[in-house]
């Protein structure tokens, strides 16, 4: 009898606890898990993608300059590549300004969608540069996907 009373009381406790627990409000935007296991907002994920792209772009620009000085890259390819790096850098910086602004995710999505991100990667004969350009292309794809995460 006592056991049944205890069991009933604990069941009652559980039900009341669940009923009294504060209702968690749903997040404004869907969240993605980060490496640390913490929920990252779509904005934070997009900033991460911009950071990856800007690093890849800078690394490729530095390699291009070094290889041009060593005579491995032609003047024409050098000019074309620097122009490409400048456009990627400008897009990254614009994206960073938009993502760092106080706009809503929907406004950020609209602004980023209007931002021209050059996804056509130039082709060059130098394998080392080609590898770095492939890294830029992969990072650009990642950025475009993360921008989609801001879609309202």
């Amino acid at each position: 009898m006592k056991q049944r009373v205890v069991a009933s009381l604990f069941a009652l406790c559980l039900m009341v606890s669940v009923a009294c627990a504060p209702k968690s409000t749903p997040p404004v935007t869907p969240a993605a898990p980060t490496a640390a296991g913490i929920q990252a907002t779509p904005t934070a994920t997009a900033i991460q993608a911009v950071a990856v792209l800007s690093s890849a772009n800078l690394a490729a620009a530095q390699s291009t300059v070094a290889l041009h000085k060593a005579g491995t890259i032609s003047d024409a390819d050098h000019r074309m590549l620097l122009s490409y790096y400048a456009s990627v850098d400008a897009a990254c910086y614009q994206a960073r300004l938009i993502l760092g602004s106080t706009q809503t995710p929907a406004e950020k999505y609209a602004a980023l969608s209007a931002l021209a991100v050059n996804i056509v990667v130039p082709q060059v004969a130098t394998p080392e540069i080609q590898t770095q350009l492939a890294a830029i292309a992969a990072s650009t794809t990642l950025l475009v996907q993360s921008i989609e995460g801001l879609h309202p």
């Binding site: 800007s54 800078l58 620009a61 050098h78």
Partner: protein
């Protein structure tokens, strides 16, 4: 344990559970927000640094 003691224990659990759940939710939210802000600020600083370095490199090559 008497029935009265069991009832008192249940009353204690009832009184404690909602504030505990609320406190845990607040801690979890604060930790997530704090880490997210910190990481985001570091990434923004890195983008700014990359941007400045890229501009300097391109300017030197012109």
């Amino acid at each position: 344990m008497t029935t009265l003691e069991i009832l008192q224990l249940c009353n204690g659990i009832l009184a404690l559970t909602p504030p505990l759940i609320e406190a845990l939710a607040k801690i979890r939210a604060a930790v997530a927000a704090g880490n997210s802000d910190e990481a985001t600020a570091a990434l923004m600083a890195q983008i700014d640094k990359d941007h400045a370095a890229t501009l300097a490199l391109l300017a030197a090559e012109r």
